[in-house]
């Protein structure tokens, strides 16, 4: 009888534990959890529920490493291999955090190399990214067949971009779908910081005013809040909490940059069959603030690649 009770209570505890996990995972992330004051009458409750009705799922979309690299190239920046994280560092990364950050970093570096047709570097960096993805246990994110296909199409930029985009999607979808949003957020953080690092390092201070690349860097002010919200979805994870402290430092510098936008006026353009979102932006970043931003980005990025 006693033994039976022990077994039953063990099962009971197990069920309670499993149900606890279900309840915890159901209510985490972007899912709504409305809180209603029990003392309100029914009409008030309905009004409050309407007011606090939130989306069931909230996505915070950072620029992907491929998009970041494209923005750097479109600003007319040159390619500098010395700015990339050397592939020889690949064996240094053994923790989940360092592998996630450097999966993002190497994906940004390989995107950068691909856009500048640095074919051998591209393959080296794809292998480095594969090592990070494998280390994180991301199944089939980057397979040998992807690398073979890359080699076969080394002069076909469209196919290369398609492979880069697909392998990155394989990684982040695997992490999202397998309950690892913190790791997914860290991968995106690594890629975004690397893009910002490369951009800030490529700015020529003798050509600061009206520099297109500086404009692209100022635009990143729009994404720093997205990054913080993305990370705050996994708040409580030690590695994410550490990252949030670093990103807050970056936000403090971005807060010194002025970025005002006029109201947006959508207009349909029949020639391109697309909507043009018309608006004007006023921005202001002094060279001193830029140098401060550049130093903070460098410090954060170097702490990721050590």
């Amino acid at each position: 009888m006693t033994r039976q009770f022990r077994i039953s209570s063990g099962i009971g505890i197990g069920i309670v534990f499993i149900l606890g996990i279900i309840l915890f995972t159901c209510c985490k992330g972007g899912r709504k959890a409305p809180e209603v004051n029990l003392e309100l009458d029914i009409r008030d409750k309905e009004a409050v529920i309407q007011d606090i009705k939130q989306a069931e799922k909230i996505f915070q979309a950072l620029p992907s490493p491929l998009e970041s690299a494209m923005l750097i190239k479109s600003a007319g920046a040159r390619f500098e291999e010395k700015l990339l994280n050397p592939v020889s560092n690949v064996n240094k990364y053994v923790t989940n955090k360092s592998m996630a950050l450097n999966l993002g970093i190497y994906t940004c570096d390989l995107s950068f190399a691909s856009l500048y047709e640095q074919t051998q570097l591209l393959i080296d960096y794809m292998n480095a990214a594969k090592k990070m993805a494998d280390g994180l246990g991301i199944l089939k994110a980057i397979e040998q067949k992807d690398i073979d296909r890359l080699e076969e199409n080394i002069n076909n930029s469209e196919v290369i971009m398609d492979i880069v985009s697909q392998t990155f999607m394989n990684s982040n979808s695997y992490l999202e779908d397998n309950g690892q949003p913190a790791t997914a957020a860290m991968v995106l953080t690594g890629g975004w910081i690397e893009g910002l690092y490369i951009s800030t390092q490529l700015v020529d201070m003798n050509d600061f005013d009206g520099n297109k690349l500086v404009g692209r860097i100022i635009d990143q002010k729009l994404s720093v809040d997205i990054l913080l919200r993305l990370l705050s979805g996994s708040k409580g994870t030690a590695a994410v909490d550490e990252l949030m402290v670093e990103v807050e430092k970056l936000k403090n510098v971005f807060d010194k940059i002025r970025l005002d936008t006029s109201p947006v006026r959508p207009e349909y353009d029949p020639d391109s069959r697309s909507t043009v979102l018309k608006s004007e932006t006023r921005t202001d970043m002094t060279p001193a603030v830029f140098l401060e931003l550049s130093a903070v980005v460098k410090e954060i990025r170097n702490s990721f690649v050590i």
């Binding site: 989306a55 069931e56 909230i58 398609d162 979808s173």
Partner: protein, 147 residues
């Protein structure tokens, strides 16, 4: 023992349904949403979730003035047509696909970089007493440089 099985089986099914639904959504996104980006480079990001009729999702993203963009928002065939609206940072509605016969794609470009909000809604088409449908909704972005 039978009681135990009756309790544990649904619990185990519930536990694994999240991951299974996720894997299904990835396959759905690749098959149904990604092809709509033809002519654009998919940015590589993945946004998909299982939504029930009547539910909403939001997406925040920065878009840059150098690029042409296409968004593709597709829902499972079990769901009614997906409605989406695009808002600027002042909550002004810039586009709604309701006016375009619930088109699943929208092409746009910007004169200056902006953070936009996408509000995605699965309309409720179920009559009272019926079980509301649920299914994957995928949101993907493609870009190409302005010529």
């Amino acid at each position: 023992m039978k009681t135990l099985k009756n309790i544990l089986l649904p619990v185990i099914l519930l536990l694994f349904s999240g991951g299974f639904a996720g894997a299904q959504c990835k396959a759905f996104a690749k098959k149904e949403c990604l092809p709509n980006l033809a002519g654009y480079t998919h940015d590589g990001n993945y946004h998909a979730a299982v939504l029930v009729e009547g539910e909403e999702a939001e997406l925040y993203k920065t878009f840059y003035s150098d690029m042409n963009y296409r968004v593709s928002i597709v829902g499972d065939s079990k769901l009614p047509d997906i409605e989406f609206r695009v808002l600027d940072s002042n909550k002004n509605v810039l586009y709604t696909n309701k006016d375009k016969n619930y088109s699943s794609t929208w092409d746009f470009k910007l004169e200056s970089s902006q953070q936009l909000k996408f509000l995605i809604k699965v309309p409720s088409a179920t009559r009272s007493g019926q079980q509301p449908s649920s299914g994957c909704v995928a949101i993907m972005f493609g870009f190409r440089l302005k010529k």
